[in-house]
């Protein structure tokens, strides 16, 4: 009897301890990082610069209507349940039911209307595609097109939705300005814009599964807590999302220490090796972008296409990628101005077959140089018809370690080939300005961009680094001064920049593919710049702390505003490891 009582008491004690342990369990958390600015600079107005910027994680509080799933080539609804074109005239979005903001009000079509009309004030490009947006009913919003396109659809679906309870008054006052076509410079527009940019909401109102409370913002990190009525709040696997403040070098000790479990940063290969040694996995998703060798086409003989083609053959891009970023520097193959991941989706087999892949071939480079009228001097240096050695300066952003390594390696390879290149590191903002101002000979700048529409990628070469200053009405600069009107073996293109802009217009995918093919083939032949390699992520993922899809999962090819990590968190695709 006494023994039985003892066992009973022991079991009761054990049960009590177990219950206590469960009760005292730490909240589950996701530990990531992003550099953000603190108050008073940092604030909650997401229409104004200086907002507490949490980058890709902002979706967790202001979710978009949908996310583009790159592997599937289709959108997946986030706040939206249904969405689609109404012929050529309009686009309709129906919201999921039962989602509410953190202030308790339901998410309705009025929030969509508010989001876009307020966005008009700060210059959202979607207003070049649409003429109005209206709430059809509580859950349905209708966008009326000026010019329908898949790009417009993307702008509608990927924009983060803001609460009418916070910005509704601005939207109501902006609507007549939209209807009147008012722009910056008109008194009413400027006054309302000024009110908007100086507006400082006291609290953040979230429709996502998490919310940022003012008391959870500190120097070291922000803690996002559960928004019980928010989108997918019942699906997400973490009670809290912790985001450490800081750039790459600041968060490195936290990753090694096991306090930061996932980070979207650009770590040097040596640091990456340390992570791997510490048992941390590396996620390598494509960025659809990377460094390229840009030419100043106003300088002889850099405007000679044969010379550029010869240099493309003379550079071992695999070597260049590896010495620059280890396993995350993947040589660009198609040499057509876009990521190989996009080329395989957008270009037909026929077009792919007709591309020149410029595989490393010194003999081919040699013959092209001779064909272009250059010859080697007695010292083995390439000279022009006048006997002048081909000597150029290559500028690169001194602070971007991977680009600096790419520049040094290209310099070594081309000097080995017989040119005289001297590489010079320049402060990164000055270096970019020098390229904008046409104040360079050779430069390392980026090619490509994280958008599923290849046309956007060509805007780097034909817009950002070509025509700068002229676009801004300054009449100076001009970037690399590559002609916008070109002839290539496939015909004539009157305006490359316009073709890039138009490449995603309209709803006819075949027509879009044809325009993209023209861009790809002409780029591949004329080589306004030589893409070196594509930057794949080297994002540490601590699998001792997080259960996430294995490396190679298609979700990891999501990039840009469709980044995979907020998607995984919101859909329960990533969970605590324990």
């Amino acid at each position: 009897m006494r023994r039985g009582l003892f066992i009973f008491l022991l079991l009761t004690l054990a049960l009590a301890l177990a219950v206590g342990a469960v009760g005292a369990q730490e909240p589950t958390r996701f530990a990531g990082g992003w550099p953000y600015q603190l108050p008073p600079d940092g604030h909650f107005n997401s229409y104004a610069s200086g907002v507490i910027n949490l980058g890709i994680y902002w979706d967790l509080m202001e979710p978009p209507l949908g996310v583009y799933m790159w592997a599937q080539g289709a959108y997946e609804g986030m706040l939206a349940e249904r969405f689609g074109f109404e012929g050529d005239e309009a686009y309709t979005v129906t919201l999921k039911s039962g989602v509410s903001w953190s202030d308790g009000s339901p998410v309705t079509a009025r929030d969509i209307v508010t989001t876009f009309y307020t966005g008009y004030l700060i210059g959202w490009a979607v207003w070049n595609d649409i003429s109005s947006v209206e709430a059809v009913d509580d859950r349905t919003a209708r966008f009326v097109f000026k010019a329908p396109s898949q790009a417009a659809e993307r702008r509608i679906l990927t924009e983060q939705i803001r609460p009418a309870s916070v910005y509704g008054a601005f939207a109501e006052r902006a609507k007549p300005l939209v209807e009147a076509g008012a722009r910056a410079g008109s008194a009413d527009f400027d006054a309302l814009l000024s009110e908007l940019t100086t507006f400082r909401p006291e609290a953040f109102v979230s429709a996502g599964p998490y919310v940022l409370l003012p008391e959870n913002i500190t120097d070291a990190k922000v803690v996002l807590v559960k928004n019980e009525g928010g989108l997918n709040a019942d699906i997400v696997a973490f009670d809290e999302v912790h985001l450490w403040n800081g750039e790459t070098e600041v968060v490195t000790p936290l990753v090694l220490n096991g306090e930061l479990w996932y980070g979207t940063y650009g770590f040097p290969p040596a640091t990456e090796a340390q992570f791997i040694q510490a048992g941390i996995d590396i996620i390598r998703g494509p960025s659809y972008s990377g460094p390229a060798l840009y030419f100043n086409h106003a300088i002889e003989p850099l405007n000679n296409v044969k010379l550029r083609q010869a240099l493309a053959y003379a550079i071992n891009r695999e070597q260049n990628g590896f010495v620059s970023l280890g396993e995350s520097g993947i040589a660009n193959e198609c040499m057509c101005g876009m990521s190989d991941n996009l080329a395989s989706v957008w270009l037909s087999d026929e077009v792919m077959d007709s591309l020149n892949y410029y595989d490393y071939d010194r003999a081919m480079a040699e013959s092209l140089m001779i064909e272009a009228g250059f010859s080697r001097s007695a010292a083995g240096k390439w000279t022009d018809a006048g006997g002048n050695v081909l000597a150029f300066e290559l500028i690169f952003p001194a602070e971007f370690l991977d680009w600096a390594a790419a520049a040094e390696n290209v310099t070594a390879q081309l000097n080995d080939f017989g040119l005289e290149i001297s590489a010079r590191g320049v402060q990164f903002q000055q270096q970019q300005q020098d390229v904008y101002d046409n104040n360079f000979q050779l430069a390392i700048r980026n090619w490509g961009v994280g958008s599923p529409f290849p046309g956007q990628a060509y805007l780097q070469a034909y817009d950002r680094y070509n025509g700068q200053g002229e676009l801004a009405g300054e009449g100076v600069g001009g970037g690399m001064r590559f002609p916008q009107s070109v002839e290539y073996s496939g015909g004539t293109i009157e305006n490359l920049r316009q073709l890039a802009l138009d490449s995603s217009s309209g709803l006819d995918i075949d027509a879009q593919r044809a325009r993209v093919a023209m861009l790809a083939l002409s780029y591949n032949e004329l080589l306004p710049a030589i893409p070196l390699w594509e930057r794949y992520g080297n994002n540490p993922l601590n699998r001792a702390k997080l259960n996430a899809p294995p490396n190679g999962d298609p979700v990891y090819i999501n990039a840009g505003v469709d980044h995979f990590m907020p998607y995984l968190i919101m859909t329960g695709g990533i969970t605590p490891a324990v």
């Binding site: 600015q37 603190l38 108050p39 008073p40 600079d41 940092g42 604030h43 104004a48 610069s49 200086g50 980058g55 004030l121 700060i122 210059g123 959202w124 490009a125 910056a184 814009l193 000024s194 940019t197 100086t198 507006f199 400082r200 008391e215 959870n216 500190t218 120097d219 070291a220 990190k221 803690v223 450490w244 403040n245 800081g246 600041v250 000790p253 936290l254 090694l256 220490n257 306090e259 930061l260 402060q427 903002q429 000055q430 970019q432 300005q433 961009v449 994280g450 958008s451 956007q456 805007l459 817009d463 950002r464 700068q468 676009l471 801004a472 802009l501 840009g560 505003v561």
Partner: protein, 364 residues
Amino acid sequence: MATLNPPIRSASSRPPSLTASARLRRLARSYTLRVFAQAVVTVWAVITFTFFLIRLMPGNPVDVYIDFLMNQQNITYEEARARAASQFKFDPDANIFVQYGEYMGRLIQLDLGESITSTGTRVIEQIARFLPWTVFSVGLGLFISFILGVTIGTIMAYLRNSWLDNLFSLLASILGAVPNYIWGLLILIVFGVQLQWFQVGALRGTYNSSLTPGFNLTFLLSVLTHAALPVLVYVLGSIGRWMLNMRNSTIGTLGEDYVSVARARGLPPSRILLAYVGRNAALPMFTLLAIDIGFIIGGSVIIEELFVYKGIGSFLFWSISQRDYTSMQGVFLVITISVVFSNVLADLLYSQLDPRVRVGGGEK
């Protein structure tokens, strides 16, 4: 018997009445006034210099914001430019001299203006948010390193040429030669990451995120704990200089005649140490300290960034990266004023200690 009549004074005994021009001449010869006037001119010159210098930096706030939008949101240059134009009241193409005139006009009214990149945020609010943490951490580091350095330096001087003196001299030379950010990195990597003596993240920031700021023991302890690593680094980075300076100064003082006389008179060693040696040897240290106090305001950009200790140095780094001209100017102004006027303080202190400085400068 006392008389109510005032005593008759001869005209020659009265102080001569000064003319206005004589008063001005006397004022102009005032050492204190001259030092202050020089300080004001220096501050103006530095403000003007930095105003133009920061505008010569590559890029401007609009360009930086355009880049940010293009890189983070993958939008075209045209859209990014339109968005940037909507956000900022700043016009990068405005005449620079007009901008300077406007800035100085506001400054005379003690208005530091608004942040360019965070429209509506006053620069003075930004400085008030970040400056106290820097003053606390760097000031505490300076105070500790000064006290320790002066004490150890005195001991070294008393035990000069002993093994302890040699050891401390070597240590001080090493500490003085290694930049403080190297100490910071070593502490983080060796003790934080490799040996895991502390949680790197838990010590970041200025206090524990779960606490509400207030004057209570828990919060104050948290503030001290979070400042511990930056303060340690500041101490390591500066203590060597204090040790060696104090050692040399004390050795010089120990050789003075009045110290020998004091010894000959049989005064107790503690009295000689405190009243004769310590006080005189420490005087040059106080001048150096006064100058160093001015640099407290500038903080340490690298140390604050390294430990995510958000003080004015870290804020300055952010402002520079964003090309937020008005915020940068505000910080530079505060740094300039503190450095210049701490030098003024040192000058005045020295002039009191050594009247020859005043007389040599022309003051009667």
